[in-house]
Amino acid sequence: MNFKNVKAIFAREFKSYFDSPVAYVFLVAFLVLIGFLTFGVAMFYERRQAVLTPFFLWHPWVYLLLVPAATMGLWAEERRNGTIELLLTLPITLGEALIGKFLAAWSFIGIALALTLPVPLTAGWLGSPDYGAVFCGYFGSVLLAGACTAIGVFASSLSRSQVIGFVIALAVSFTMLIIGFDPVINAVANWGVPSPIVNAVASCSLMRHFDAMCRGVVDLADVGYYFGVIVFMLAAAQVVTDSRKAS
């Protein structure tokens, strides 16, 4: 792995977000949506508690909608414009290109997340939140964003159409979010699916691992899960891109 190549791809992709107004629209939409859900729906102030759980619990749903928008062009645009042929005939491996692109998209989402820091700062000014729990919440949110980004990178590799990439990323992320919900688990169990299988599938839920972190508990297994999803999705994206790059 040549890290100079990863860095070059990362820098190009990251800068490309800001080459058009799309990045700014994305950041504003992210903040408006998070703000509305936290203050308008979850009634953050009305609770009169310096606890950020109502803020973090909306992150998966915001990522569900916005991360696919940030990742849908990563490979689809390369294929549509023919630049994939230019890129992959340079002395660079597909893995280096893939990791550079993933890190750029993840960092971009990271900037959006960093812009929400006034929320815990305000909570700290008004009360005394548990900063350990706040840190865990942000840490979990960063990992969740990484998993959603990797799903988006994979979805983008499947088609030269950005719209298809968006829809597939949305569908996969949504499925991986809801499989951990009790009503879904109960419905699946009622179909006669053996409970070990139901439990195994439910344990793959993006939501289930995030919930614990929102409450201030960082388990190594949860961290391992998110990195597992990232590695699996990037490996799948590599296989797909390699086999479909010329199509």
Partner: protein, 254 residues
């Protein structure tokens, strides 16, 4: 005898049951400009893509400066400059930033990178537009920008897929002069084309393919270097390139 820089051995490509390339062999030496000719759908671009490592060959291999594109692709690609068909580039980037990006991947850094990018911009005559975004450029300038990325690292081998496709006569003339300059510098050049006047203007040798097979291979001989006098002297056929081309490829259009 010039040094052989590119050697292609038994290159084949299957797409499912369809065999697009049926075993192509070729060599290109320093200073050679090889015209890779064939009608649309003959397998030219597929062959170029296998030689440059973009798609894997089903069978066979290409050796670039002695490095196998199959087993040592990174070393092989370092020796190669490639201008893909339609000259793709990142259109939202400025010309200079695009070349900086390619230079980074080509292993340049710091002052050497800036120096190399500045020299390439000058060589490709892009100075007037170096700070413009690529999407605002004319087709001719976009072609030059993609050409610039191909020559940035001063490669020994240049591969160009339809380098003058869609350009006006003046722009074509500029590209042909570049090709002749590069050949004079001792580079091995392959040009994939179906524009036969290109072969008369710049090529020293030509290979004619049709239906994925090599039909003939030979020298292009000119009297006093005049393109109008160019004659193809192949293994099977000799004559004006357009006549030989029609004779060898029309059989495939029954």
């Amino acid at each position: 005898m010039s040094e052989t820089l590119l050697e292609v051995k038994g290159l084949k490509k299957n797409f499912g049951d369809f065999q697009a390339v049926k075993g192509i062999d070729l060599t290109v030496a320093a200073g050679d400009v090889l015209g890779f000719l064939g009608p649309n759908g003959a397998g030219k671009s597929t062959t170029m893509r296998m030689i440059t490592g973009f798609i894997p060959a089903t069978e066979g291999d290409a050796f670039i400066c002695g490095k196998s594109i199959t087993t040592d692709p990174i070393a092989a690609k370092r020796c190669l400059g490639y201008l893909p068909e339609s000259a793709p580039s990142y259109r939202a980037m400025r010309v200079k930033d695009f070349l900086r990006f390619v230079a980074q991947i080509r292993g340049f850094s710091g002052a050497a990178l800036e120096e190399r990018v500045a020299a390439t911009i000058k060589e490709a005559m892009l100075t007037a537009v170096e700070n413009q975004t690529i999407e605002t450029l004319s087709k001719g300038y976009r072609q030059r920008t993609c050409f610039a990325q191909a020559i940035l690292h001063d490669p020994k081998i240049l591969i160009m897929d339809e380098p003058t496709d869609g350009l006006d006569p003046n722009q074509k003339d500029v590209v042909r002069k570049w090709i002749n300059n590069m050949a004079a510098k001792g580079k091995a050049i392959i040009i994939s084309t179906h524009i036969l006047e290109e072969v008369n203007a710049v090529c020293t040798r030509a290979i004619i393919i049709a239906d994925g097979e090599k039909k003939d291979e030979g020298k292009i001989v000119r009297e006093d270097g005049k393109p109008d006098s160019a004659v193809f002297q192949g293994t099977h056929e000799t004559g004006k390139i357009d006549e030989v081309f029609r004779k060898l490829t029309k059989k495939e259009e029954r």
